[in-house]
Symmetry: D2
């Protein structure tokens, strides 16, 4: 099967580079187009700083970085790693031009017509994309699909595994990695040997709100947020990659600790059954060792897509306590968007969206969007 | 006024060294005797590794380290920085021989006859010492007084400031410093760029239990634990000194956020009114900046005795959220014991325990316990 | 082709675990036997702590750890990751019993009859193995082959690339990673935010002596050390993996900086031409960016086997300056030994040691050494 | 004696804050005026971020930050912590207006008429200030005095102690702290668990050139650089404060190791004999323990002004090896400038510059420069 050309918006930042690394040997997608802000536009990508340990492929290094307004050159599927300061307008423009924008930016996440998607958690919310296209008159495969905040995603996967027990309240403290702040991000003098008890940009509100949309119910063309209450405190710790979340959870159905552990360990979902290329198997690993999960030992498991859970035990206040961990740049950003795109493509291929699929491939084959097809 | 000679049990460990550093220029106490396990006994203290940044005084360097069973040479007041594996028996023996043991070890903390003391929190619990002497037939100034676990202490000081609002539930996640594990403690390969979501030795239980004894009520010769519920998760982060506690608190009286902040900022207690040498003024600093308190910027304030509070705000689940920070080796260990001893001496001097005071000073003047006085 | 069974002596330490990780999917070798000190002997390997980020294979987890004296059960090829305190005698015993011991321990490195081998640097020194067998009456494939110290190896690879210019003096400062001290190794309180300007165990002497043996000349059954002078200072820095060496080099032939760079970039050797499984291609990467090589970005390149060189420029004192970097646990330990074993097996297979090859395979096929063949 | 009013140019950066911290309780100087770039000008100093662990005094917090061109309001003595991008012109303007600028910036260091001064190394170079005033027609106490780069200073103090043995060649590798790059400086993702083998801004050239001017000879109104050769490689390591320098030194007079150690330990100079407030006593500590000096344990000694030396031993190439350490923001920046000012004031007071002294104090008393006095 021919690979689908994809573009990356915001290709030079920390998440943009992670997209490129994860797509290096992807069986379905091929990066053919890169765009970034004016500072980098016009340069050869290989001449810009590359800050990942995995080497940059020569094919990508050769690409010239396009400006963000060059949307007529873009393939029909683009991943967005844009900064929130520019993502809002740019993504809207790409969607309006018929591109499918699979975005990691926060701007459109809480838009009632935009799916906030984790394939293991709420694949049915993808149907919002049709509503979005209809309501906004988007051409062809145009539209925006988002993934949640890098902390919210691990938490939401855990909550998806607990949904059957009826979640009522969730109290969370996160210990978040430096790479979550992008590059250059946190100054080393603030990070080294220190804890910063606050993360700007509404991090706590994102966790509190996005989890409720993610675990919400899709009905009659819209999502009704889940009814549980979330309280989050977010802190920054001197860890390179991997957000840890210490969670206390209240569950109406009062499972035993063993039942709760078993439910998380047994959890599986559509990405696993569809065998999506980046789907971790299983999506969650439940650790028995008391001192796990740890960023250093666990964060790279499953190519960074696995969510880790440990220290499952009773909480004298809310009933249940546990610790969750996931790779914030992979499971929490680039890998999240990529898995979203894999779900979309897999569903199209399996015939559930046969028409859209034809369009996307026709477009992909030509390397650019052809207006008459939209 | 003549200084009182004091001894240090466990003088070679991380807490023992901190005792020596804090006592270097103490106006009331003079370190005249050091004891440690057999490995170090018989050696000149200055020939053993000194791992603090503040220099070791030549007067202390000259002292020969005594074995733990040489109690007849010990002064009448000893600080114990012993490891829990040996503290239980050793402290009992020193108390039985008429020494006042002001201990940082966990062994006797939950003993109903042993004060678990924070001078700002429960100075009235010191009366247990008389019960202890009576019940156990301890000679003269003999007895054991303890301070809480290095995490529990910061939390308890904050709770003392909130006591007026009737605490009902407290949910805590700690981010604890490496020095809390002693030396050599945590392996650097486990610590660097990592979070360990578990601390051994019953750390979480200590927080859950000690805070309830600390905030308990002294009545008729015993302490009735406070009735609130505590749930703690303790983690280790790559910070040298300073335990951070992220707290959610439920209060029956529902103060406003401003009332709660004002109460903490206004909190003061006996050590401050007595002007004890090591008493921080104020005991708590309430930070307005969202990114505070931080170990790097705040932990050395007030010679390490200040408790820091920040991020006071509503919790949608328990009502109130905040972040607390304190120096685990000072406020949480050596400084805690030292302030306990200061309170005891200050009360004696002020006549409230005139008789005991005479004994302690008679003993101190002679440099050793005189049996006829006991 | 059937895989050769191999054993690992000292399988539980940092280097032992790295051996297991590197051998997980090795095309020629299969780990079938593990041995360690008494503390671990008798246990299932999977029940012991595993401290690497790459997962432990279930096949290895199943193995029971043998004691170090169980040599009659060992395969004919064993890798030694033993601590120097026990490696001397144990390796001698295994060699005497007919096993080929490919060791990372320091004990036998400077033995005139033991090859101190880096396949890219001095593959001809392997002939010492025949001398060793003859002189010591070793049975069959018995013998000891060693790789150098984890710092010396990167330096020696660089010097091999410069050998054509006649090296006369080399002045080195290393900045070494924490994993070089094993586990638990350096205490986190000593490591965090600190530099320790000394590494025990004769680290500097090893660099000064081993490089001269490695670059020495094999003639008439013995190695004559290279004549250049080496001066080393070794320091410990808070890096997990990757030893950096800042080097000033004096060369008799005075190449230009461009000639020197070109020589290092063009350097290749027998492991590359034989296409050994673990041979990095090229063995050295010469970086043009001034801020490279860096442990974080470069150390995992080439599965950790690549040696990195950067900052090549004139030294006003010795003529040439550069910075080298290599992965101390892979290129500097387990990978080094593994590449040594690959060279030995590849040479046997290619007929240069046809007789030894037959024996090794006969032994390997049977799973244990058969005395009649020795 | 009345305190002298001083101003600080560049008061908001890392070095500017260090000036304020060191001047908090200075017996001779009182900070009365702060200036910074336009971004901060007009603000109350206490409203700007304060990034040091020592608390900011309320007297300083109250000051309004002046713009850099408000020189008519400045006291007659100003310390400059300006960034090199603006220091050149600004310092020239302040000097022209009759202010004595004691600067940490690099811009004027190599100016033949500007003293590059370390009071322990080359106090006689201060006479250049008279040449400077004469040649440039500076009014009154106007002029510029500089201190060297934060790495060069520790090295120069060590070399001053070795000068008697006739230094011929010095080869240096530094391991420099993050605070040397200012704030925000190095990105935490580049710093954490990493070594960067390069420091921009000509760091190596500064060490190579400044040490030769510092150890140079003042004769007939100018400084003749020392004739020895210096070769430096500078690296960045994840340490907060404290630059380590690994040095190999060639000495014409070939002292024994003991003679060299004794010379460094016995070294003392004018700041010590004059008992200047910030002068460390002794200026250098020679450590016997092999694992010292270390940033964590040693850098705060002597209020950060002590230079530490350890690991003195033979170098097979240049003769002598040692490791030096000093606090880059104190001994290497703010403290260096402050000691320079103390030397100037002390000499004036002791009558050697009685006339200038009168002027400086007249000016200081009035709080501003009075043109008629210039």
């Amino acid at each position: 099967m021919e690979k689908i050309d994809v573009g990356i918006l915001g290709a030079t930042g920390a998440v943009g580079q992670q997209f490129i690394a994860l797509l290096a040997d992807h069986p379905w997608f091929r990066v053919s187009w890169l765009a970034a802000s004016e500072r980098s536009a016009g340069k050869r990508y290989g001449d810009l700083p590359w800050r990942l340990a995995s080497p940059l492929s020569p094919d990508i290094a050769r690409l010239e970085v396009a400006p963000l307004d060059a949307l007529d050159k873009s393939p029909s599927l683009v991943f967005s790693a844009l900064d929130a300061s520019v993502a809002g307008e740019a993504e809207t423009a790409f969607a309006a031009s018929g591109r499918l924008v699979v975005s990691n930016a926060r701007n459109h996440r809480m838009d009632p017509l935009v799916p906030l998607l984790i394939p293991e958690v709420n694949p049915d919310h993808l149907s919002l994309l049709d509503e979005q296209r209809r309501a906004r008159g988007l051409k062809g495969t145009g539209g925006i699909v988002t993934n949640p905040n890098c902390s919210a995603i691990n938490i939401a996967v855990v909550l998806a595994g607990l949904r059957q027990f009826e979640i009522t309240r969730v109290l969370i403290t996160t210990l978040q990695a430096l790479s979550g702040a992008g590059y250059p991000g946190v100054a080393s003098l603030d990070a080294l040997g220190n804890v910063i008890p606050y993360i700007g940009g509404g991090e706590e509100e994102k966790i509190e709100n996005e989890t409720r949309k993610l675990l919400g119910t899709y009905e009659n063309g819209s999502v009704r947020n889940a009814a549980f209450t979330v309280s989050a405190t977010t802190t920054r710790v001197p860890v390179a990659d991997g957000h840890t979340a210490v969670m206390s959870v209240e569950l109406a159905k009062k499972p035993s600790i063993d039942e709760l552990s078993a439910a998380l360990a047994a959890f599986t979902a559509e990405p696993q059954s569809r065998n999506l290329p980046l789907a971790p198997k299983p999506p969650m690993i439940v650790h028995a060792a008391q001192d796990r999960p740890q960023p250093r030992l666990d964060v790279h498991h499953g190519r960074g897509m696995t969510v880790h859970v440990g220290r499952i035990r009773p909480c004298p206040i809310l009933g249940y306590k546990l610790v969750a961990l996931g790779h914030n740049l992979v499971r929490g950003a680039a890998g999240a968007a990529l898995l979203n795109a894999e779900l979309i493509v897999a569903r199209q291929r399996s015939g559930s969206h046969a028409d859209a699929d034809r369009k996307l491939h026709a477009v992909a084959a030509s390397g650019k969007v052809q207006p008459q097809q939209a």
